[in-house]
């Protein structure tokens, strides 16, 4: 066995040298190449993954905000419409009321005016009647020239006035 190994050139000194050689290489490459490069690659892929997740989250947040905005806007719109409708109804009601009040006032005024006119008219007529009676008495006195009995006089005059009223009416 020993003879065979020597024939093949196996020398334990060289064998150990080669083993140490390789172990040194392994250690150096592990420390300076594999470990840093692989950890860097992991770090980068983690970084990218995180960034993607963040982007997704931001997108989601944006969508939520957009939806909320839309919702709020819609609510505001309906509210505004409600307010507008209410205001319109109120305005219409108040307008009607005002109109009604105005009409009432006008008609009251008109009635009052009519009454006043009627009163004044009848008063004027009464006065005119008295005036006419006096005038008639005076003119009749002048015409007749003598005073009749006061009672008869008055009776006569009233008869005349009544006649004139009848004809005047």
């Amino acid at each position: 066995m020993h003879e065979l190994l020597t024939q093949l050139g196996v020398d334990w000194k060289l064998l150990i040298a080669q083993i140490i050689n390789f172990l040194v290489l392994l250690a150096v490459l592990y420390k300076f190449l594999y470990k840093p490069v692989i950890s860097l690659m992991n770090k980068r892929s983690n970084h990218i993954e995180e960034s993607l997740k963040k982007a997704e989250k931001i997108e989601k947040n944006l969508q939520e905000t957009e939806a909320r905005k839309e919702e709020i806007l819609a609510q505001a719109r309906t509210e505004a419409q409600d307010i507008f409708k209410k205001a319109k109804a109120q305005a219409e009601a108040s307008q009607k009321e005002t109109l009604k009040a105005a009409k009432e006032e006008i008609s009251a005024l008109a009635t009052k005016a009519q009454q006043e006119i009627d009163a004044k008219k009848s008063l004027a007529i009464q006065e005119a009647k008295n005036d006419i009676a006096d005038l008639v008495v005076a003119s009749v006195k002048k015409i007749v020239g003598s005073n009749l009995d006061q009672k008869l006089n008055e009776k006569l005059i009233t008869g005349i006035i009544k006649d004139t009223e009848k004809t005047g009416a």
């Binding site: 050139g9 080669q18 970084h47």
Partner: protein, 251 residues
Amino acid sequence: MNISLAAEPLFHLGSFPVTNSLLVSWVVLFLLVIIGFAVRRKLSLVPRGIQNVVETIFEALLGLMDSVTQNRKQSIKFFPIVVTLFLFVILSNWMGLLPGMGTIGLMKELHGERVLVPFIRAASADLNMTLALAIISVVTVQIFGIATIGLKKYAGKFFVSPLKEPYFIGTFVGILELISELSRLLSYSFRLFGNIFAGEILLTVMLFLAPYLVPLPFLMLEIFVGFVQALVFSILTLVFMKMATVEHAEH
């Protein structure tokens, strides 16, 4: 023309023979360490230049390893040993293809004969180097196996009690497993050594027979063989590591 199965010593440091193969493996070590440092210095989160190349290669290798382990975490655990084996073996193989292989060297007195000892001899064309790697590979496989499934379960793969089912067959299979584990030392080392050493002899012979153009296709072939052998060595190590970390199915 001198063909020697063993790597020839160029000089001695005390009683320690510095062979041409050892010299080349030192050069390989040196080159890889320099590359490692160069990459380490320029490492940044945004890759640039050589880092891109290294990361692309690492990513491809991790992908290849994933296809064996089916587990990215385990791939990363096995990564250093497998990739170092690959890099060291492939550079060792290719170093022997540099011009001057088998031709430029020192004239030395060996075994009573005056022969040319070339400076360059593929590091893998030396059984010391391939056996060293085989030992490392086999030992690492055992270490990963024990570390992953525990000493008791791992030993249970090889030492099966003859009193349990399937009785002596189980025991016998266990012993066979143990032998196959140890025989890997031989298969690893002789496969790599044989391929690269044969390639060297082929190229040397071709160079002596027809110095121009004719050796070229063989050179191409040897480049390919160097790559394939490096791949075979590292992937086999990976596969055995994976097998060692899988628990034995209960019968």
